[in-house]
């Protein structure tokens, strides 16, 4: 490791994990499955979302393999349809939505605000069980023969024209929705009511702010999806007429209600990731985040504006042109807070003292890819441009840049950043840097060609395509292979590090958050005594003073 590193591992001869921690406070499966401890629930979530991520990832692999050739030769078209539907459902509802909040957020938010647990530990556990039930429903829809509506469940296709397991999958998503509502509810109450003395709103780490904003969206948006799915299920099962054009219903109403949730859902997915980036950039440039208030409020602004833009998914679908105008204008406005964030992160680096640990590499990856993802979002928000681009691979590339390039990078960044805190051990640094690099290269190779093939007009969700698009699709598939390796690597070395990793000590990154001031892995009760907070977030001078003080008293 270079001298530039700020990792201060305890001397290896004497290093040992703390005798008591949340990991060894109790033993046995039961102590995990009935736990109220937010940290253990976070671990449960981490294991389960990783499981679903790899199922969803396998689906993605199949999709890319099928698209290697123009014909639908690997699988029949209906199999392909089922595969991309499952990929979408699993990745959106079972991976992206709970990824950062339910794992990292669950683990660190209570500690960040100085609380012993989330406000409602039992609700937190219930949320995980709901997630598992949702997962079982989704998997059974898959095992029973699949579902091929696309993750958007468009009526009347989903209600009257398919013979697949729409109801099972719909119920799965309905339940997953409640799981995410409970997580969001818990976060909001915890951040409002459980902050330690002295932890004012503007001393909160930005990770809390962005998760708070995402939680608002979860609590207010998800129920609309729930009722919409209930109506779809009722319409499919017993034939009530709410969306059915044959009975006088408006299929576009479904789109309105669906996107009222599903557009804010995009922010549910990305906002917590942005929070991770704020923490990581600040820590590894040893500087407070440039314009803390602007970054904090931009999260809230994204959450609020997020509710006003949903019909930009429907510009060509027959919404009134006047309405399209309004929604396009508001879409332009919601792009601004994201731009503010990007520039503020870049400015945070200015006059910092930057080191390039793995989380930071992932964060740089995020900044680049999210910028592209965000800017191409402006393409799609622009009315005239949207006509040509929507429903093509351009939009596929756009949201994969935001969701995979942005969110997944942020998730990996966060996992690497807090891994020492979660497990008390370090991962192999060289290997993890290699993984970050592989992911970045693989990602660009996979999704950048899709912008071009999208502008050329290749429609999404096609099992077979005209042969002139093949070159770009081959590039994309090649990239996906690299990307797959990039995702498998962390899986392997992180598991390895559980047993063989070096002991991390309480604050390997010399970070300022409250979570770094306690032992790693933390005690079940987090803090022996409720902390009194008397400094701002990202106050590195306070931290320096703190360490100095310790040295003096110890020495």
């Amino acid at each position: 490791m270079s001298t530039a590193t700020i990792v201060k591992l305890p001397p290896q001869e004497t290093a040992s994990l703390p005798k008591r921690s949340y990991l060894n406070s109790e033993y046995g499966l039961k102590s995990w499955l009935l736990t109220g401890d937010h940290k253990r629930i976070a671990i449960l979530y981490l294991i389960s979302i990783t499981f679903f991520f790899f199922i969803g990832g396998a689906m993605a692999g199949l999709i890319r393999l099928e698209l290697l050739t123009p014909q639908s030769d690997l699988m029949a078209t209906d199999t392909y349809n089922k595969v991309f539907t499952m990929h979408g459902i699993i990745m959106v509802f079972l991976f992206l939505v709970p990824s950062v909040p339910a794992t990292i957020g669950n683990f660190v938010i209570p500690i960040m605000v100085g609380a012993k647990d989330l406000a409602f530990p039992k609700v937190n556990l219930l949320s995980w069980y709901l997630y598992i039930v949702a997962g079982i429903f989704t998997i059974s829809a898959l095992v029973l023969g699949g579902v091929d509506t696309g993750w958007t469940f468009t009526t009347p296709l989903s209600t009257h024209y398919l013979n697949t397991h729409v109801i099972t999958a719909g119920l799965g998503i309905f339940i997953a929705g409640f799981s995410s509502i409970f997580t969001g509810l818990n976060f909001i109450v915890t951040i409002h009511r459980m902050r330690a003395p002295g932890m004012t709103w503007f001393r909160l780490p930005l990770f809390c702010w962005s998760n708070y904003a995402a939680s608002i969206l979860m609590v207010l948006g998800t129920p609309v999806l729930a009722i919409t799915l209930v109506l779809v299920i009722l319409e499919r099962a017993i034939g009530i007429g709410v969306f059915d054009p044959a009975k006088g219903g408006d299929p576009l109403l479904f789109q309105h209600l669906f996107w009222f949730y599903s557009h804010p859902a995009v922010y549910i997915m990305i906002l917590p990731g942005m929070g991770v980036i704020s923490e990581v950039i600040s820590t590894f440039s040893r500087k407070r985040v440039f314009g803390y208030t602007a970054v904090a409020f931009s999260s809230v602004a994204i959450a609020v504006f997020g509710f006003f833009v949903w019909a930009h998914h429907m510009f060509i679908m027959g919404v009134s042109n006047y309405s399209a105008l309004v929604f396009s204008l508001l879409t332009m406005l919601v792009a601004v807070p994201s731009a503010i964030k990007i520039f503020n992160w870049a400015a945070t680096l200015y006059k910092g003292s930057i080191t390039f640990e793995t989380p930071m590499l992932y964060a740089f990856g995020f900044m680049g890819l999210f910028t592209i993802g965000g800017l191409t979002g402006v393409f799609l928000g622009s009315l005239g441009m949207d006509i040509h681009l929507t429903e093509t691979y351009f939009i596929v590339a756009h949201f994969h840049f935001v969701m995979v390039g942005g969110m997944l990078m942020a998730f990996l960044s966060g996992i690497h950043f807090w891994w020492p805190k979660m497990t008390g051990r370090m991962y192999p640094e060289a290997l993890s840097k290699l993984a970050a690099l592989t992911t970045f290269i693989g990602f660009n190779l996979t999704f950048f060609p899709q912008f071009i093939v999208g502008y050329l007009g290749m429609p999404r969700r096609y099992a077979a395509y005209p042969p002139e698009f093949q070159v770009l699709n081959v590039l994309s598939t090649a990239g996906a292979t690299v990307l797959g390796i990039g995702y498998l690597l962390p899986m392997l070395y992180l598991t390895w590090s559980l047993k063989y990793g070096k002991i991390a000590g309480s604050n390997p990154w010399q970070a300022t958050g409250l979570e770094w001031q306690i032992q790693s892995p933390p005690l079940t009760e987090n803090f022996i005594e409720t902390p009194l907070v008397d400094h701002e977030a990202y106050d590195y001078e306070w931290l320096a003073h703190q360490t100095e003080h310790e040295v003096q008293t110890v020495g």
């Binding site: 091929d148 393409f379 050329l456 099992a463």
Partner: protein, 352 residues
Amino acid sequence: MHFISPVLWQFLVNWLTHFALFPPEASEIAPYTDSLYFFLVLISLVGMTVVVLLVVLFSVMYRKERNPEPTQIEGSTLLEATWTIIPLALFMVTFVWGALLYFRIYNPPTNAMNIYIVGKQWMWKAEHPGGQHEINALHIPVNRAVQLTMISQDVFHSFSIPAFRVKREVIPGRYSTVWFKATQIGTYHLFCTQYCGTLHSQMIGQIVVMTPDDYEKWTNGSTSGASLAQNGERLFASLGCSSCHSGNADSHGPSLAQAYGGKVQLANGSFATVDDAFLRDSILNPTMHQIAGYSPIMPTYQGQVSEEGLIDLVEYIKNLNSNYRVQQTLTTSTVQSTTPAAPAAGQGMVKQ
């Protein structure tokens, strides 16, 4: 180069010869869309460069080896305002530009010739006013504005011609329209871009742009005998529409002659423009389009007329210039194919 496997070699050749960044610009709209696209790509490149440059520059200048002690900075309202306002301004320009383009793409000129499209799982049916039917293909003349009136028989489809940069959702139960003016002769892709079930990826077709002469030949060669309006006339008679819509002063229904394109007052006091959608809806949901001064006695024809039949009826009513045709339909239940309902084919396709 013998060590490169033939497959790979072929692939590379293929790549070099077929590599394209843009689809052909084959319609009047395409250059406009592309210029907005270039503008947006430019903005993105500049934005990207600024971000990457800042990140790289700072990473080099302020890496720990060079700058071991960070300088804490609170923030800067001026800077933050700058990078709020500049993107906002650019996004506003994009919005206005995009909106203008949207008007242009979705606002057909009044002299556009009309072709009907019916989408169903999983094929496109095109119906020309002269009675030519096509499946998964559309023949159009070059340099002539063409408006498509589209409807789906089952689920959402989407009619997309990348070379023309136009796309519009085809909705069950509702007409949607799109128009374009092809500028280059050739054959282009037609895609269904809205996921519509198992064979979604096979719901594709060809747009054939022809010279006016070739088009003329094609229309003459593929006519099925009766124009849409003639089919409509037959249907009009067999459904008994003429008994009420006879155009006489004492008839139960409003006169349909020259009704198309005008405004009518509805029973609830509001005004509606009589367009294709209005005519179709009036046949299926007469109560909701009750014209003021008439009693709601018209039965619904829901389930009795197919989408194609509705198109025939709409086309017939559209071309009714006088009540004479209706009365003739009233008296002669069989239609003489010798009297074309629409005037000359060419004229009849021109709106107004």
